[in-house]
Symmetry: D2
Subunit: 378 residues, 4 copies
């Protein structure tokens, strides 16, 4: 258990602090403007030149001075009109109130107490506009965005959206496993994934459809052959073949089949992945723990720019729980930025924001006099 | 442990079954078209009039007959060209292959073995188009859609989307807690939620902003007053006030403040909620366990129609894990349909699909000759 | 949306039903003994020979008959002393109350409405005594229990407990990945896992320790060699080597090293795993999605007994969320029984229950006269 | 995106650094002892007095110097015997290798790169021995441990274990909701929780049993009355009544009944909780988000000791996912220590460790000569 001393308030720097200012509550249960909002940390209030510790500390409350000179921590709803309430925002003594932050992890400055300080949380907003801009800029400057995806991506809308990103030049390379390609191809041939339709219904005999899809590609000899022969007519693998986007399909012990393109030796597969990760300028990992961590292991945290500067290698990790992102960080990929959502929803909204950003840029370009255009390009 | 007998294959109904048909593999590692894809269940194959059990059973494999008349379960990749492989899709003996389904929960018919049979899973596609149509139809027929929401909804985009649904007539009543209103109002006044901006950044002194927001509404006397006085200028609560959509804010022990409109007695709060649930024709619960289960407890599973028929009361439950939906079902709300995703993404896409459906209906209406229009309305 | 008709209560079988019996509430807010507890399903109550539908349906409430002959669904707390409350437990009409179960999945009998019907839930009790008995009986009859484990198992206590199961004859074969062996060996050599001590603290330079552990085994040539040379002196791999329990370590793209014993080709690895799964009489999968699903894919759902009977192959899947078990079932391993808990806690308690059961059997054996002993063995 | 400059290696402090030392690999795929294990961060190696950046950076690999003076980051398995490999552990230049840590959150020192740095993770070991010691010491010094529990605790073993803690003096006060008491009392009267038995089976008519349990206590007038009248004969509430351990049952909108002791007004309930939290010297929150966060809101982060020192208020939060603990921290309870496991397993093992610690202390006391005993007590 951590034990620590109260801050030494006899230090010279505290001598200059004013007394805390108290203002009457304007009505029952209503605090005065600018009231000091408490934390759960050790707090000291200067009253008549003395620093005193308020009684019954808790967060989200007010500091109330009673007639005996005692300061209490009180919920706003419990105040009566006229109760004297401390006002101030500073927690460093400048307003006569000092908050001691030893107990806050990495709490060295007086504003260390915050809400929402966790690194990954489903409760944080997702900034799709920012991700869309990064993606567009990567494309514009000829970056090498590496996409790493799991099979949850291969439902109807997400599959269409992923194909769109491939077709439109946002994918440098695709790293995935046998299952992504199998379900994508099952969807192209039979309209199902694991025997389940677009709308989530189970089809009769459906449990064998992915095996039939695999068998047809094995008969064709490769995914590219199956595309050429018209067996595979849309989807993720189709788009990769058509746009010559390189893909690495790595094998695992879970695989059915596998498809002929799958690299079944884990070490050969790592080498094939690394040929892409070492060129990566952006990484996006969606709905896969195995492939995300494998890629994280071999990905530098930074990109060396031509100008000698370095920049963080943007690494986005999308999963339906916080766990995968934490796991990735716990294995050293500290730069990973976590997005906690459903893979198909993520893909749909990200595409939407990319399309909106492009439209807005196009609109801006149309409205910009010709001779100034060059300057607006970044 | 469940023990059971092999099916009695001397029963008369099996006498009529044909021998299984075996076809040679066309190439190494390639199965013939129409191959039988195995399950992990007890299986019997009729060979020369005898029902025999294949050796080394597993799923996702083929049935191979060797020269000694033994049938093996083999992964397709292990076959050699010419190996004799059973073909057929029926599992009831009609193709000479019988699969015994005792071990499958509710497995009474011969097609009981399926994949993706779980009730709620993040791996299932989300049918936004279907939900959008239900919502539009509820509005058209004057239904009473009850929305039940948790505070994760109150991030920038989701807040705007929720306001849109209120403003456009898709919300009969809103059931929520103090926190939803507090964060919504914090966002309207200060642009933050729990001191965090739209893009997820922490603001200095931010931990007190929700307390300041509460205090301003307490000073105004009610949310409606705060809207009228121009303190609250947009968002969910603003839209409810402006469109006279009833809301019930129920208190809990977690509440800061609370806001003046909050019903702090749990029993009075239940009665206020039930006044709406008993009129409900549709329920949608987003990112809240407490309020979803409370509402589920008091919601009938059905709606009595004017024509004497009954219909299921559509109940959608959105959460970032399967757990809340399972919990809701485990407490008797069996009709709940689970959507496993992030609340803000759900709202954004649902709105998009409603807008698209409306546009498509408008387009259809324009293209329909006037005198046939009535008939197209449903 | 599901639409359905009210049950036809003019059917002859309902003619024999009695009127529902109503009994006065003994005090305000208190129901009479034997009160009928409502569900959320369509319900009909026989009053004066007429079947009527109670108003304002909800679950967990009572049926109250008012003076006008109307039946209301009312929360118990809202009753006044003397209010007439329906009593009865049957939902099939025998007590004058009929509940219609169309809306309950698989709801064919009149008692279909239940709580806690989900297949896997952290809210369900874990029957360690039952699992301990199965494990002991497997050992006694010479079964072949296959253990499939993920790296979360390799923390101090769980590692010791797993070693105990191996040393004491409860493990037929161990199926795992490179990481389980790496962390186990890191713990034996350096006392850490991923650079973290037994008590969860980070050690300086710790991020390289697993690499050093791997390198030492690579230098030794194999895990068995490293045990013989005294490099590895305790733990899971040590116990396997010492007790000649076969293990299969399969490679993946996430692997560091790998250790020399790892089978890096996924197809060779599947074949090595299947050599054990085809002999399995019991399977226990702990804290691994990849290996659990891979094993589930190749595991029959049943065991063929020598007496011609079949029995379910007991398959236990332990994970800290419901997701892995649902995923396993969704991929066809319907027999999997899910335990939602932390791997190290599971191991600790399971061992404790096995030890207790053995002590209790030993005590019973001591107290049984010699000549009857044979009969008590099962 | 974060952009930053490479460290200025012309700074005087780097002038004193030696060249990195390279040692030949002893065999193919085997690294020399003391090899430097890479991170994913910008790294510089001093070769012939020049700092150079190794090519193809990734973590968990070695630094290999080729014949042209180029340094490569290479997986150990790819080395040939005799390849020259950098040795060293320091990342601050002292071994001729410098790692730049800007990209690591809070990365100010040269050993900033670590694994397992997340605050809460199911992958971290749980130190039950430490928690047991804290609990025993709290009892010995007359502390006030506050237990906050959710209904998942009320399964057979956990219920017995919780009762044991109450009966043996480890509980200062119990804060919970209606459901904890309802299921505990249902278990005492009917042997079920939500109609489910100890072993997880559903009983017929079981969905009404919790309503019957509530009704019996309502008829008795209070939980204490029901204990006195012999209606409740064991369990958590029984133990509280028998040992006069104060409990606060707070109401929520989810409640059935509620029980007569439940405080249904949220504000009165907060005040009742705070009467205990302000005395708390230890807090343990098990399987409840609502009550944990409510308690966290009103709990100081510290305890003021009699000697003037302060100490952290130990706050343990047990849940089956990381989410609740992160949420608690995100709302300001930074001191919370998360344990990710199943509530019933947690209780069982914690009790076991407390019992073991007591036995070990008793054994030590017996073995200590009488006249030195006083000194060993702390």
């Amino acid at each position: 258990m951590t034990t620590f001393s109260p801050i030494d308030l006899t230090q010279p720097k505290f001598a200059a602090c004013p007394d805390a200012k108290f203002v009457p509550a304007p009505a029952d249960g209503v605090l005065p403007d600018g009231f000091f909002s408490t934390t759960n940390l050790p707090t000291f209030v200067r009253v008549n030149g003395q620093w005193i510790a308020p009684r019954e500390p808790r967060m989200d409350s007010a500091l109330v001075l009673d007639r005996d000179g005692v300061v209490w921590v009180r919920e706003g709803r419990r105040l009566k009109k006229g109760d004297m309430v401390a006002v101030g925002e500073k927690e460093d003594g400048a307003d006569g109130i000092y908050v001691q932050t030893q107990l806050v992890p990495h709490g060295v400055d007086p504003d260390a107490f915050t809400f929402m300080s966790s690194e990954v949380s489903r409760e944080k907003p997702i900034d799709y506009a920012h991700m869309a801009r990064i993606l567009i800029e990567e494309k514009e400057r000829g970056g090498y965005p590496v996409w790493v995806t799991g099979p949850a991506l291969v439902h109807s809308r997400a599959r269409a959206d992923m194909s769109w990103f491939i077709m439109n030049g946002y994918v440098g390379a695709l790293l995935a496993g046998n299952a992504v390609a199998v379900h994508d191809i099952e969807a192209s041939i039979y309209g199902t994934t694991l025997g389940m339709t677009n709308t989530g219904e189970i089809t009769q005999g459906g449990h064998g459809l992915h095996m039939r899809a695999i068998n047809r590609v094995r008969a064709a000899g490769s995914i590219a052959n199956a595309v050429e022969q018209g067996i595979i007519t849309d989807g993720i693998m189709y788009s990769c073949v058509k746009k010559s986007v390189p893909f690495v399909l790595t094998g695992s012990i879970r695989d059915d089949g596998p498809l002929p393109d799958v690299i079944t030796d884990a070490l050969a597969a790592q080498d094939a992945m690394r040929a892409h990760t070492k060129r990566a300028t952006f990484a996006i990992m969606i709905a896969t723990a195995l492939h995300a961590i494998a890629t994280g292991n071999m990905l530098p945290a930074f990109v060396q720019q031509d100008d000698g500067q370095m920049r963080e290698l943007p690494t986005i990790c999308v999963d339906s729980s916080e766990f995968v992102v934490s796991k990735l960080k716990d294995r050293g990929t500290h730069q990973a930025f976590g997005v906690v959502t459903n893979a198909q929803d993520f893909m749909h909204i990200l595409r939407l924001y990319v399309e909106r950003e492009l439209q807005s840029r196009a609109a801006m370009a149309r409205n910009t006099p010709k001779d100034t255009k060059a300057a607006t390009t970044r």
